[in-house]
């Protein structure tokens, strides 16, 4: 019986670990559903994921934002996936990548005093950054952001909507001296065909892909025009106000096309 006691003693530790991990998993699931509930208060979470089709450590991060987006009822949760261009070269290119998006990631590195860029990087409200595949941290971060209070100044409407062209205008009552208004044209879903290797012919799917990003100094009202890159796709425009000194996002709203 002395041996049995020893065995149980040794097993107790792995058992405790399993219980902790299960509890953690359940806590994450609970946070995920809490975040996706319909909210109309004065809080928001702008989630920016810097990723790439070519980054093979990115799928868990891409999957996490897909989970957040699926059946999401929270109108104050804004998700944007920026495809960076530094994995592109002669032999390979991410069709959603743009130098402008890498520039944006570089800007964050400067605001947050980071020594390097990396993917997958996830930033919430321009204030906190983390590895995009760290589920618990991402969910906690979004949850915290949704607890904050922000006076809403921004309203957006569609002026003109044609098959491949749209004009969107905003009004703002913000008095901030240091703000820029940014508008992102977001394609809700896309898939790319894998060209080479064993997965050739298979599809990589993505959500909330930023196709274009425009910005200008904050005004009381202004408008932006976008060319829609692909027909028969669902798009939305996410508009947000960002403080150019700190990088903090102080207001956000969206409209579906």
């Amino acid at each position: 019986m002395k041996t049995l006691k020893d065995i149980l003693y040794i097993l107790s530790l792995p058992l405790i670990i399993t219980l902790i991990m299960t509890a953690k998993g359940l806590a994450d699931d609970h946070k995920l559903s809490t975040i996706k509930v319909d909210k109309s208060g004065k809080s928001f979470a702008v989630v920016e994921l810097f990723t790439s089709e070519g980054c093979w450590s990115c799928p868990p991060a891409d999957e996490l934002i897909a989970k957040l987006e699926k059946d999401n009822q929270n109108k104050k949760l804004f998700i944007m996936a920026f495809h960076v261009d530094y994995w592109d070269h002669q032999g390979w290119k991410d069709r959603f990548s743009k130098a402008k998006f890498t520039e944006r990631q570089r800007k964050y590195a400067s605001w947050m005093k980071l020594s390097t860029l990396y993917t997958p990087q996830l930033i919430i409200n321009g204030k906190v950054e983390m590895i995009g595949s760290e589920t618990s941290r991402v969910l906690s971060g979004i949850h915290s952001a949704m607890q904050e209070n922000h006076p809403g100044h921004l309203a957006v409407k569609i002026n003109k909507s044609e098959v491949n062209h749209v004009q969107v205008s905003y009004t703002s009552t913000s008095l901030s001296q240091h703000s820029t208004i940014l508008m992102a044209l977001v394609q809700k879903q896309a898939s790319s065909q894998v060209a080479a290797g064993e997965n050739a012919g298979k599809y990589l799917s993505h959500v909330q892909i930023v196709r274009e990003l425009q910005s200008s100094m904050l005004k009381a009202k202004d408008s932006f025009s976008f060319e829609l890159p692909e027909a028969n796709q669902d798009y939305e425009i996410i508009v947000f106000e960002q403080n150019q000194k700190s990088g903090e996002i102080v207001d956000a709203t969206s409209i579906s096309l």
């Binding site: 020893d6 003693y9 040794i10 530790l13 670990i17 790439s52 070519g54 980054c55 093979w56 450590s57 990115c58 799928p59 960076v84 530094y86 994995w87 592109d88 070269h89 032999g91 390979w92 020594s115 390097t116 860029l117 990396y118 993917t119 997958p120 990087q121 590895i131 595949s133 760290e134 894998v194 060209a195 080479a196 290797g197 064993e198 997965n199 050739a200 298979k202």
Partner: protein, 152 residues
């Protein structure tokens, strides 16, 4: 063996497992030297030190993938390249997302480039383009430049 020892061992194993799971913010560093074999033969030896938790990619990965790894040497009249850059046997794994096998190195690796020396004095200017990744993240492709002198 008493219970306290067992418990301590398990805790230590747990702790080290947790530490291994963290991504270190390590930078791959390079050391490049010219090894002289004779008055006419030499070898450029380029050693990478790769911090724990990280890896760099080997030569010979699929050129139609995002992986970039290459060596460039500025031509100079004082030397001539003999053959391609050599590398030891790399580690290999199948990268699901890319759908291809990838070859890589961890810890430390030395690449070599044989040269024929044609002048008494000269300079070798080289650039190494490499990529470092951990299990969780990848850092953009980096370039390391170096210069070596050829002396009589």
């Amino acid at each position: 063996m008493n219970r306290l020892a067992i418990l301590t061992c398990s805790l230590l194993m747990l702790f080290s497992g947790y530490i291994k799971g963290q991504t270190s913010s390590g930078q791959v560093t390079w050391e490049c030297i010219l090894k002289r074999k004779s008055s006419e033969e030499g070898e450029i030896s380029m050693k990478a030190k790769i911090p724990a938790g990280w890896h760099i990619y080997a030569l010979g990965n699929n050129p139609n993938s995002p992986i970039q790894m290459n060596f460039k040497f500025l031509p100079h009249k004082s030397y001539e390249l003999i053959g391609p850059v050599s590398q030891p046997q790399p580690l290999r794994k199948f990268e699901k997302q890319l759908g291809i096998p990838v070859t890589y190195f961890e810890d430390e690796v030395t690449f070599g480039q044989k040269i024929k020396i044609k002048g008494k004095n000269g300079a070798i200017n080289g650039t190494i383009q490499f990529m470092q990744c951990s299990d969780e993240i990848c850092v953009p492709p980096q370039e390391f430049g170096f210069a070596l002198k050829i002396r009589p």
